[in-house]
Every structure is written in structure tokens, then in C-alpha cells.
């Protein structure tokens, strides 16, 4: 054969990948996955939540491989997720059974079971500290012994108090099978289960920004009250043979938020007056992700109770734009070659010049 294809693309790609991998470790300081797992808890929490895959080891590996790039780490875990068959769904798990490690209410000072500040960076001073030594630190076990008057795996909820006072009417329990957005794409108008799944996988920054817009002036435009933020270990069970005999498969760390939103009662009273009441926005994330969980509760509320034309009330706008893998993928694809389409654009631009230039 006379003419042969140039293998330029293959060679260029191979060289580029090699260069990237070499550069990654050029300085020669190697860290182990175990180091990341031990020292980068908050990053792991955030990545597991956005990846919707609960595995601290794989999350740590993804951080190492992605050189600490959040979006890349989430992307790695999501791609890995696609190789795994879904073998079981867990049974319904109730956060009343959570072993609570931290729990605060912004609404009531004294809550049954008490406020539990737990481990949080909230009240640290953000001063750069170049003396980061952990050698003298106590191990985690030393903290679990703090005595408490209530059983930590059966704490009452703040929401119960509102209900007793008649300030919140609990919705009837919805026992329908939730939609699974990893098995069936979201159809609009979306169901609440689709919204909650989508929000909890959302990119932390995107969820936070939209939640912020919703309360700052484009939607609810008012201050929600955090009834309760709780962080703790949640037991998970499966019932593989559907016998009602569930097996415990482990605990996962969760953050749960119930936000109280003052709102109008749906129905008027007997005299035709509208009463005020509280409605609930709900947030739940893998790992300790308190800001995201709060923002999620705001968006859950805004999508459940739309206000006018606010973008944050539009389920398509919110749900189709908060996914980290989708948004970063589409934005980054813009740097791929578009020679063919650009040639087509040129043709049309020249055509209009021809038509109007004469």
C-alpha cells in the first residue's frame, strides 16, 4: 500500500499521559492511601457524598489518584460505581436509630436529649498554623466515653416538639417504592424521591450556591430555622430474601438536617382565615457535610413549594445543573476538537455576508 494513516493522535496521547504521570510524582514525596484516610476526613466526606458511593478506602484512593482534585476524585468513584451491579436495596432505615455524635438545634435552646456539640470546625479560628503536629493527640477512642443522660442511639427529634405543639402537621407516611435515579432517568415533573437523591449527590458548591440564592432573594427569600442538624452513625440492614429477617451490614456516617420554614397552612380554617404553620425542608448526606445538608434542605423546600418564577423553584433548572460529573464534563468538552462543526459555522457566516453584502 502506498499511503498509510499517520498515527499522530495515538503517539501524542501516550506522551501526554506519560508526562502527566511523571510530573505527578516528580518531587519524590510519596503518600499512602492510609495517610489520606487518616488526615483528610472532610475531603473524603465531601467526595463520598457527591459520588454517592460510601467507601472511605476507595474515596481516599480516588483523592490520591486525582492529585486532590475534587471533581476528578468524584468522577473516578462514579465511574467505578458503573462497574458494580446493584445487588440489594437496604431496608428502610430511620434516623431516630442513629447513634448521634453531634447534634445542634438553632431553634430551641433546650431540646430533649440536649445539644451535643461533638467534633466540628465551626468554632476554630481560621488562622494558618504552621505547627501541624499530631504526635501528641489522643486516639479517637478516648472521646467516646463522655457520659450522657440519654441513649445516643434513641434521641428524640426536635420536630416532635413542634408537632406536639400543633405547629407542624406531619404528612402521612408515603410507603411507595422510591424512584431510583441511577436506574431510571428523572422524568419531569420530578418526584420527591428523585429530587432528594439528585440533591444529595449534587456538587457541594452548586447546592450551596443555589440554596443561598433561594434564601437571599430569589424564591423563599427568608431565613429558615434549623430545627436540627445531626451527625452520627446510621445502621444499615438488608433483607435479601424478603423474609422480614433483615441482616445488619454496617454503619454509615450521615448528616441530617430538618429546617423549619414558616409558611401558610394549605387549607383555610373554618372562618376562611389562613393560618401560619411550619413546613419542613429536608437534607441528608453521606458523611459529615453540614453546609451541603442545610442547603439541600432549603432546596428540597423550594422545589416542594415553588415561588413564582424563581430558578430555585424549577426542578429542571436545579436538578439538571447541580451534578458535578455532568457540569464539569460538559464544560471541559468544549476544548475537544470541533473542526467539522466550526467549518459548518464558517459556511453559514460567509453565506450571510454574501447575501447582505450584495
Amino acid at each position: 500500500m502506498g499511503y498509510v494513516a499517520v498515527k499522530g493522535g495515538t503517539k501524542a496521547i501516550q506522551a501526554s499521559v506519560r508526562m502527566y504521570k511523571d510530573k505527578q510524582h516528580a518531587a519524590g514525596y510519596e503518600i499512602e492511601v492510609e495517610h489520606i484516610k487518616a488526615n483528610m476526613n472532610q475531603l473524603i466526606n465531601q467526595i463520598m457524598s457527591e459520588a454517592s458511593l460510601y467507601d472511605r478506602d476507595l474515596a481516599a484512593l480516588s483523592i490520591l489518584q486525582a492529585e486532590g482534585n475534587m471533581e476528578e476524585a468524584v468522577f473516578l468513584l462514579r465511574a467505578h460505581r458503573s462497574t458494580l451491579p446493584r445487588l440489594h436495596y437496604s431496608t428502610v432505615t430511620n434516623t431516630r436509630d442513629m447513634f448521634v455524635e453531634r447534634r445542634v438545634s438553632a431553634s430551641f435552646k433546650d431540646i430533649p436529649g440536649g445539644q451535643i456539640l461533638g467534633a466540628s470546625p465551626d468554632f476554630t479560628h481560621r488562622l494558618l498554623d504552621d505547627d501541624q503536629s499530631f504526635a501528641g493527640n489522643k486516639t479517637a477512642e478516648a472521646y467516646t466515653e463522655i457520659p450522657h443522660t440519654h441513649a445516643l442511639d434513641a434521641l428524640p427529634k426536635v420536630i416532635d416538639y413542634l408537632e406536639q405543639e400543633g405547629l407542624f402537621s406531619k404528612k402521612p407516611e408515603d410507603d411507595r417504592e422510591p424512584d431510583d435515579i441511577t436506574k431510571q432517568s428523572i422524568e419531569f415533573p420530578s418526584s420527591r424521591s428523585e429530587r432528594l437523591q439528585s440533591l444529595t449527590r449534587g456538587q457541594t458548591g452548586a447546592v450551596t450556591s443555589l440554596g443561598y440564592a433561594e434564601i437571599r432573594g430569589y424564591g423563599y427569600s427568608s431565613h429558615p430555622n434549623i430545627g436540627e442538624v445531626r451527625v452520627g452513625q446510621q445502621p444499615v440492614h438488608i433483607d435479601p430474601f424478603d423474609t422480614g429477617d433483615a441482616y445488619y451490614i454496617g454503619d454509615i456516617e450521615l448528616t441530617e438536617v430538618e429546617a423549619f420554614m414558616p409558611a401558610d397552612e394549605d387549607d383555610m380554617d373554618d372562618l376562611g382565615n389562613t393560618e401560619k404553620t411550619f413546613k419542613i425542608g429536608y437534607g441528608l448526606t453521606f458523611g459529615q457535610n453540614e453546609t451541603k445538608a442545610i442547603a439541600m434542605s432549603v432546596l428540597d423546600y423550594s422545589l416542594e413549594h415553588p415561588v413564582g418564577d424563581a430558578a430555585t423553584s424549577d426542578d429542571e433548572f436545579v436538578l439538571l445543573h447541580i451534578d458535578s460529573v455532568e457540569s464539569t464534563g460538559f464544560i471541559s468538552h468544549l476544548k475537544l476538537p470541533h473542526y467539522v462543526t466550526f467549518q459548518s459555522v464558517l459556511d453559514r457566516v460567509r453565506q450571510t455576508k454574501g447575501e447582505h453584502g450584495q
Binding site: 499522530g8 496521547i13 451491579p85 436506574k183 431510571q184 429542571e316 473542526y339 467539522v340 467549518q343 447575501e355
Partner: protein, 280 residues
Amino acid sequence: MRQNFAFLDEHSKKEIRRKTLKAISIPGYQVPFASRELPIARGWGTGGLQLTLSLIGQADILKVIDQGSDESVNAVNIRRLIQDTTGVKDTIHTDAATLIQSRHRIPEVPLKPYQILVLQVPLPEPLRPVEPSERITKQLHADKEYSGAWLRLFEQIMRYGSITDDADYPVLVDGRYVMAPSPIPRFDNPKLEDNDGLILLGAGREKKIYAVPPYTKVASLAFEDHPFEVESFDDVTCRESGLTGVYMDELIDETTGETYYMTNDTSYMIEEMNKEGSVK
């Protein structure tokens, strides 16, 4: 880490194949599917790739092209992933392939009955430029209400004197569904019609699969007095091969500064140049 054959778990592949069958049964209709994340980024061809991965078998022969070229970096990257997880043979020759994944082009060589062409789709909704909401566009398709798509072209004629839609030019499939053909140039639109092969289109980020089955009527939207026009390469000859009547890349000669043209479908160009008595 050990990988599955063709990366995805078998449950996912089955679901994608079921949705693909549905798409073939309703030509031009966008079938929603639960798109999986892949090791290649969203927007980089994950829709096409999921189709390919769910369809590919050990006996398949694969061709991957991007911008008309087997050697475009993105084509190389996608081919590498498919081969790393399947070990199938690849080819640059369109005729030799059983499965062709392409971005932005339909090859110059007509498809054969034994071939499947998979096109990567960034924006599957042809009505999106006139209607941002998915639930409304879904209703418009159901009602066969396509005034918006035509009106967009009409308004272009009013404003610019001609239709200015470039690539991804909308088509009406089998007289029923208006469809985005993916960002192929208008030059390739006529190849969609009455094709011997099966054309599948996959949008990963937007989670849609759709199809143009063999021998389907496909018409580019146009008006009686403003007919559909393809990109014009009428007065242009490929500098490399002497070919005419093919889609060209416009290039600049670094030494002379002159514009010249070259056949965009590189494997076709090489095949033509190697023929006895080729034009050049």
C-alpha cells in the same frame, strides 16, 4: 483493578439494549435511559460509548472516529478504552468495521447492512433552542407540534436572508419526530436517509438514546422556496488527494499563508489514494 468485559456491569448493558430496541421501534424518538458514568468525562462521548459498550461482542471489529479522523485524540482515547476492556480488533477501514463510533461525522463510505453507526450526541433535543423546559418539549413531541423549530428557521431568513443553522441541523424522521442528528455537518444529513445500516445516537449527559433504523425517511427541515443547503465545497479540490465532492477541512499553508483544503474523512482519502488510477 479487574474490569468487566466492556466495562459496564451486565445489568446496565441489558437496560441500555432494551432502551435501544425501543429507540429502533420508534424512529427519531428520544428514549430516556439511566445513563452511567464512564471513565471518560460526560460530554466527551459517554452516550455513544454506552451504546458501543452495551452492543459490542468479541467478534466485532471496531472503528472509532472523531472529526472524520481515526487519529483524532478523542477517537484514540475512546478506542483505547473499548479495546482495553474488550480486546476486540480495530480497523480504520469503514467497510471492514461492524461497529463504528463517530463524533461529528458520518463516513463518506455508505454504511452496509451489517454495520451499526453510533453517533455521540451532546444536545439531543432539537427544540431546546426554542424551549428550555424538558417537560414542555416532551409534550411538544407528543403533540407533533414543531412550529417552533420551523419558526426559528423562518426568523433566520427574515433576519439574515438565509437559514443560519450550521451543524446539528434538525431533521424530520419518518414524517413523525423532529430529531437532532448530532453535530454532523449539514453535508452529512442526506446520508441519514434510506441508509442500509443502523444508526444509533446516544446522549450520555442528557440521558437519551434514539435511532434511525435502516431504510427510514429522513428530511432536513426546509421551506419550499428556501430549500435545505449543505456546506458548499463546489470549487474546492483536496490538495492531498485531488478528491472533490467530499467534506473538507480548511487549512492554512504555513509557508505561503494560503488557504487550502483537504478531505476530512482521512481513512476514505487514503483508500481512494491507494486505488488503481486514483485521481492523483
